[in-house]
């Protein structure tokens, strides 16, 4: 796990020197699957970010109802489930809204939850991991026991069980209401059970970095602890962090979908992929295309991010065999 430093030393020679970043980037570029997945991921993220513009360009709108084209079962009475130039992915049964626009707008909440959760758990993980790895001894073992405990906890189960009381609690404190309270709850508890993973990784990283000459040197020169941590340690843990981030983002995306699917996450009229999937599952026997497109989109996003994560790991840590 200490590749970045090692590689820089190995490459030290008469040939033009390269920073570890450049080397990693070179390796990443050579990975075709990774590059494609990265392109897809970035494209999807920006589609989601610029959903209003994209929808305007395509002439679709997430809120327009097309009730008149639905039959008595609520299915669009059009060829191919309403798939046409106007509606690239067809219409949603029940309300006749545009599926593509709904997917794009819905992804924004899903991505927001995933990104916020990753960010929060990463921050806590960094903090705890660096403290534990740097101070070692009793501090480390106490923190270690706590993280082990949380890691072993049935987190999904806890989040389901806690959802209703905690959302009510958040609402009663007046911090947020309705869907904001639900998003807050999801982000908070997903991070609460998610940070130990990050912290464990960062701790091991810091433990080995601590023994490096440059850290010892800094300490010997009388650098303050805060300086050692911020200037020497923090910049050197980014490689594994990037990998874990890219792997955990799709996990949280799917988690949001699951909770909304179970009716415990975001509530309508807001739209997320979980809500779309729960709708799709109601119509799956009469209009399987709705389910296939929605589930397929989720799988594509998760797959793309997973592939990027794998490629990044290969690029940043050639020893890790995958």
């Amino acid at each position: 796990m200490t590749t970045t430093v090692e590689t820089s030393r190995e490459n030290d020679g008469s040939i033009q020197g390269r920073s570890p970043r450049q080397i990693a980037w070179m390796r990443f570029k050579r990975n075709k699957v990774g590059m494609t997945a990265a392109a897809v991921s970035i494209a999807l993220l920006s589609l989601s970010l610029f959903a209003p513009i994209v929808c305007k360009l395509l002439g679709i709108d997430p809120d327009t109802l097309n009730l008149e084209v639905l039959n008595t079962s609520g299915i669009p009475d059009l060829p191919n489930g309403g798939i046409s130039l106007e509606h690239p992915l067809g219409l949603i049964p029940g309300t006749g809204r545009d599926l593509l626009a709904q997917l794009l707008y819905g992804s924004r909440i899903s991505f927001m939850v995933a990104i916020l959760t990753t960010f929060t758990s990463l921050t806590i993980g960094l903090f705890v991991g660096i403290i534990g790895g740097y101070f070692r001894g009793r501090v480390d073992s106490t923190l270690g026991r706590f993280t082990d405990f949380l890691l072993a906890f049935p987190s999904f189960f806890m989040i389901v069980a806690l959802s209703e009381p905690m959302v009510k609690r958040i609402e009663s404190t007046g911090i947020a209401q309705g869907n904001s309270a639900r998003i807050l709850f999801l982000v908070f508890f997903l991070s609460f059970f998610g940070w130990p993973g990050f912290s464990r990784l960062i701790r091991s990283q810091v433990l080995s970095l601590r023994e490096r000459d440059f850290v010892t040197a800094a300490e010997a020169m009388g650098a303050r602890r805060s300086r050692v941590i911020l200037k020497e340690l923090l910049p050197n843990v980014w490689a594994p962090v990037i990998v874990v981030v890219s792997l955990s983002l799709p996990g949280y995306l799917a988690a949001e979908a699951v909770f909304s699917f179970l009716g415990l996450g975001v509530q309508p009229p807001a739209s997320t992929w979980g809500i779309l999937l729960s709708n799709a599952s109601r119509y799956v026997t009469v209009m399987p295309s709705f389910f296939l497109i929605t589930a397929g989109s989720l799988v594509i996003v998760v797959l793309a991010f997973n592939l990027v994560g794998d490629a990044l790991r290969d690029a940043l840590d050639p020893r890790a065999d995958r």
């Binding site: 072993a152 049935p154 069980a161 009381p165 609690r169 415990l264 799956v284 065999d321």
Partner: protein
């Protein structure tokens, strides 16, 4: 050795106590009145007050917690006189929604979840370890490539997508495994029906885990194959098959068993999605339903139970390690 085990057990007991207290506190400090949930539409203040006393919500929280704990060992009676409802020990509370002792509800749900978890565990272990070993043995050849595709798909397909797809297509549309009316049957009573009842949920659960285990096994086997003692064995002319199965697999199996133990423990409470999609009346669905209905005593009990299973499983894994590897005893 015994001292180590004794100490671990003591810590586990303390942890269980702390967890149960924390969970209990979360479910007791509610921003609303739990007693007001206990009656239907004709809720008068008198009824609410009556139920508050009957269910013990009028007492301070530490006393409620004490009553909860003592109920586990001594049983508990709610209300008084003819309409009293008593739950014999071990009592985890009383569900005012279902007019039943929580213990009985858990007893009904438990076998289903255990059957589900055990079956899935067997499938994913066989698949995961098998594929992992194959992939390592034939590194960078087709078994490796195809297993890595499986790993990717397995880790990217959310359980509820796999589950729904299996239910809708395999069971409802193609009727390969038709849904039967008869709910859960024990494997001892009717193995055939038991198998048909569980096979799709097993597959749903197993796919995700099998992918993780394949990835892990492959890496671990490759790691071990690089170890000195394997090189020595090979140098001595030990057959490749013996190297793989006797020397390598044995070394790899210990961490896999640890992982499996913990994952299994997690499933006791964590199979909510699978149980929901396939309508299995197990612990996960019981919890989800009780969450929807705000049936607090049930959610409280199942949450504590899920945590206890994890802690106990951790303890067992720790002790196994201590037995297997003397260095662990610190």
């Amino acid at each position: 050795m015994y001292r180590f085990i004794g100490r671990r057990m003591f810590f586990a007991a303390i942890t269980i106590l702390i967890v149960s207290a924390v969970v209990f506190a979360i479910f007791s400090y509610l921003p609303f009145d739990p007693a007001s949930l206990t009656c239907g539409q004709r809720c008068t203040p008198q009824i609410i007050e009556g139920n508050r006393i009957k269910l013990g919500f009028d007492k301070p929280i530490y006393e409620q917690y004490w009553l909860f704990l003592s109920g586990i060992f001594a049983g508990r009676t709610y209300g008084s006189g003819q309409a009293a409802f008593s739950c014999p020990a071990p009592s985890f509370g009383y569900s005012f929604n279902e007019n039943a002792c929580v213990t009985d509800m858990i007893k009904e749900a438990m076998p289903i979840t255990i059957n589900l978890a055990v079956g899935a565990l067997i499938i994913w272990l066989v698949m995961g370890v098998g594929l992992g070993v194959l992939a390592a043995k034939f590194k960078n050849r087709w078994p490796d490539t195809s297993s890595s595709v499986f790993v990717l798909l397995g880790t990217s397909l959310p359980t509820f997508v796999t589950g729904l797809a299996l239910l809708i297509w395999v069971s409802i549309k193609w009727k390969i495994i038709p849904m039967s009316l008869d709910g859960y049957v024990s494997a001892l009573d009717n193995p055939g029906r038991w198998f048909m009842y569980f096979i799709l949920p097993w597959i749903t659960l197993a796919i995700a885990y099998a992918a993780l285990y394949t990835r892990f096994t492959r890496a671990a086997v490759l790691d071990t194959l690089g170890e000195d003692y394997i090189r020595t064995a090979r140098a001595k002319g030990v057959k490749e098959r013996t190297v793989l199965f006797k020397h390598t697999l044995r070394a790899v199996l210990a961490p896999i068993i640890t992982m499996a133990g913990l994952d299994f423990a997690g499933l006791i409470g964590g199979a909510i999605i699978t149980e929901t999609i396939f309508n299995l009346p197990g612990l996960g669905r019981l919890t989800l339903r009780s969450t929807y209905e705000f049936d607090l005593p049930v959610v409280l009990a199942t949450t504590i139970l899920a945590a206890v299973v994890v802690i106990v499983m951790n303890l067992i894994v720790d002790m196994l390690y201590a037995v297997l590897d003397p260095r662990v005893r610190i």
